[in-house]
Chain length 638, copies 2
Amino acid sequence: MDQKIQEVNLSQVKVHDGFWSARQRLIADVVIPFQEKVLNDEVEGVEKSHAFANFRIAAGMEDGEFYGMVFQDSDVAKWLEGVAYSLIVKPDKALEKRADDIIAVIEKAQQQDGYLNTYFTIMEPEHRWQNLQECHELYCAGHMMEAAAAYYDATGKDRLLRVMERMADHIAARFGTDKQPGIPGHQEIEIGLMKLYHTTGREKYRNLAQYFIDERGKNPNFFKEEKEKRGWVHFGTDPEDTAYNQCFAPVREQKTAEGHSVRAVYMYTAMADLAHATGEKELLDACETLWDNITQKRMYLTGGIGSTGEGEAFTIDYDLPGDMAYAETCASIGLAFFAKKMLDIRPSDRYAEVLERALYNGILSGMQLDGKRFFYVNPLEVNPGISGKLHGYKHVLPQRPGWYACACCPPNLVRMVMSLGKYAWSQSEQAIYSHFYLGGRAEFDQAVLEVESRFPWEGKVSYTVDPKPGRGSFTLAVRISAYAKDTKILLNGMAPDNARVQEGYLHISREWQKGDTLEISFAMPVRRIYCNTKVRSNENCVALMRGPIVYCFEGVDNGADLQQLRLLRGEEITTEIGTEGVLAGMVVLKAKGKRMATEKTLYSENRPTGEPAELKAIPYFAWGNRGENQMRVWIQEA
Amino acid sequence: MDQKIQEVNLSQVKVHDGFWSARQRLIADVVIPFQEKVLNDEVEGVEKSHAFANFRIAAGMEDGEFYGMVFQDSDVAKWLEGVAYSLIVKPDKALEKRADDIIAVIEKAQQQDGYLNTYFTIMEPEHRWQNLQECHELYCAGHMMEAAAAYYDATGKDRLLRVMERMADHIAARFGTDKQPGIPGHQEIEIGLMKLYHTTGREKYRNLAQYFIDERGKNPNFFKEEKEKRGWVHFGTDPEDTAYNQCFAPVREQKTAEGHSVRAVYMYTAMADLAHATGEKELLDACETLWDNITQKRMYLTGGIGSTGEGEAFTIDYDLPGDMAYAETCASIGLAFFAKKMLDIRPSDRYAEVLERALYNGILSGMQLDGKRFFYVNPLEVNPGISGKLHGYKHVLPQRPGWYACACCPPNLVRMVMSLGKYAWSQSEQAIYSHFYLGGRAEFDQAVLEVESRFPWEGKVSYTVDPKPGRGSFTLAVRISAYAKDTKILLNGMAPDNARVQEGYLHISREWQKGDTLEISFAMPVRRIYCNTKVRSNENCVALMRGPIVYCFEGVDNGADLQQLRLLRGEEITTEIGTEGVLAGMVVLKAKGKRMATEKTLYSENRPTGEPAELKAIPYFAWGNRGENQMRVWIQEA
């Protein structure tokens, strides 16, 4: 790329999308207010948060004790970031006022030297910066930096941004080459610092992000030595588990995605962002290697990552048990972060397809359709009586619970969905990139684009261009993924003469005129997807996708014992628009299949026989909305 | 049955069997001496036992502290029981002398009131009989009663028998209706008391066994109340887990096999023994119901039971994950105990087939072929890198370890294999029953039988009868299982004219003459076995059996990635006699199959394709003897 690609500012994008707008409204109307009440301890029956109160106490405005996790501050940060995006999606003066008020409290809670963390300020001021492994000071700071940048972008108000610049300056004064060595236990500060850098332009913050990235793994014993030096523990987690902490090697030498999957992808996100900013090839190569390892060996079909509940972690290549998956919502979100940073380096379907896959499947499945319940863990198979109950399956809940004491996933989902415009678009001096179809209006330096989209249920989208004076000469690059078949492209009703396709992006470079309209239409036949035979879990199975949507089979539609179902090879799979209940408006799939009979004995010399059966599959993200029942993505093919 | 069937005394049977004699010698020459050294703390590098020392200390012969598990005494009991059987298989005066010596120590360790338990005697005499849930006093007593009966049967020496009668009297004086209520936390005393009853004829012991059986589950809160009353804990295990403890209902009302699988089958064994002794139909019906539940819904193909490592327990119907199996060696041994007691009530292939299945597969797999290493857990699939390492699979070791701190399985295997004669035969006034083919000599009231057998590798066995004077009129009932095909039966070279088959047993009733020979020969074609489609784990899979032997596929023969193998439907499976190494002399299987190719991508629209591959299967019991590698019993069929 000769021209560096940049993220858009969310306020450039206005979403009017048949699929996403309703979800954004749901989050604005239901999830964010609910979360605010939780943070304010106004919801009965959920785990007490105390997160706002912690800030008031640290600010000296209220008496009391700290309560909650050592990283409780991050819940406020993530809420504020979500609020910032929400104010763009749906302006709300009263909400903005309340956000301003809590920002004022946060400012007061900041210490003279710039330090900000309510746990240590209230509880253990003498223990600051001694337990980077377990105590999440840098993690909380990173999230608050993200919130600060987002709030500034959304409102133009820089109060929180200034607070977090002071905190960043405080951190920079303490950690670095020739200062105190340090790396975060849970990566996130790297992302926060890069956002601070992008927002303020101050290279100091980029350099500090780079320091934390460069420092990791240089001394694999860092956390062990840190523990020995301080002589106390918080949770008691193992400082020597260098895979868990991604400390097993310097980041540029890491070839496989290891350890806690959220920490890992947060780190890769910052690495890609930094590589983009500095142009460093070695770091970019490491990102590519890790990307390939994840997406070609350690990723569930849904874009879920993390195959074990122990350490919420990656395991080994091709170990992808659907019924024991961790596949944390946050990890899929982190994978989408990583994908977007790679896309900004090089727009390619190989990244965008994963971003879209995670978004429409492993991320969206994290939220009940009514916005009231959430999954941490997004399995590809559940079996009532086993899932959530038996050893090895306890983390796999067959239904979404209401809220979590460690409430990371719901607000992460909020900020992802509310800032979707940042993921759908990128821009450069020369080009505008559309990574996936998001209806609405997007304003760039060159032009305003109006997008109409019937995605993901129909392959029909149009871009109407209104160029700015003297800026009409640019490239519009629209991704058309490999799942699109029989694609028709019309520019003002005619086949464009200068279209070229590069890595799954249709590039049209021209002098755009007001009202120019690019129409793209394509078929999305149902695809039978097969899993690499190195994977033990999906032997002889097939999964169904249509466009970016992964489908699944639920007991409520197909009866119990889904393992008895067989999808027949060669049989057509038909589509229907759901008309009732939660499935209304969604494309559901029907197929002729078989159900294998239940034999009388446990073991038999008789091969099981089957009877014809009608099979129905629904979008994976919609599973678990109709009561507890069996669910499977992968199904036997016969 | 008009005539009650009885167990044989082991000294009636002399084993000379092509398959089993070598294993008995191995145990006599390697395992028992090794175990003796362990109990004497003479083996470096294994967990310290201290079990003999505990008895010497309790006997006042030595100073010191108790060391080991609260049930450490049972290791001595099980060793003594194994020694007793071994003295029959292979007389050894020096060994007998050492056993006599330790029995003298045990006698000295017995308290004035008959109480015998070194832990409480040394450590907490004031806490005797207060923690039946956790402290295994009754369990240890049961095992020592079994040892006492066995040692008396083998040697005619009654010193240990008298010790255990005094202990039984002590227990009977304390527990019972109108006395202190009590049930054992880990069932075993019931079996021990029944053996004491069978050996001494004293109904008091049978009544006490009945008391413990009747009492269980009457008050599901018994252990909870016991804990509250005493106010201390030993391990801290949950007294309210009534499924784990089989206390969820009175035993006659239990319809499903629940909880800790060894405790469960030990209890069912005693229930069946008691039902046989008393003729009680309700208790027998309960046994039948539990038998059906286990064998038709909760048993691995190998005769393994217990689907989860958590609580070493049964889970739910049809939950039989091969790669997460617990399938403890002891549990399969307990299942064989249960089967034998049911066989004594009613000789039927339905019990004998399971006894034999457990014996040749899930029990025998517990021991390395060299007798030096042992499995607790007998999975039906292992995957190096996952088994023994990842969450949910940690209990599934891919190779047999040397010895265990909780050393229950190795001595249990010892006593099972060394007392095989008791399982092969039963007797009544009118009939002699041969439950499976065991070469050698067996003496009954009616006759002496010489058996020649090429089982299990060949379906060829003969019984030569030498009747005792005036006792020649009896029925010889020989089981011929359903897996035998093209069976030929010759009595003195001619087809017998009065043979009848009942529940899988060939009955020949006649006036037997000296030298009469019954020859049975049959084919054992390789059988493709299919699993009930209610089981999720074996979808589209097939397993191979030949006679009672379950086969498995190992990486060393078939290459890595066994999940890529396909056995082809309809293809012939050929047999070969192994010639090399550990497989020498065993029938191994060869089949034309396929190996599915490894695709380049993780997910693809291309259905995987396969190349022809030669597949080799070996007896399951022999797996894990050629280094760590992948192993599977169930394999995809195409």
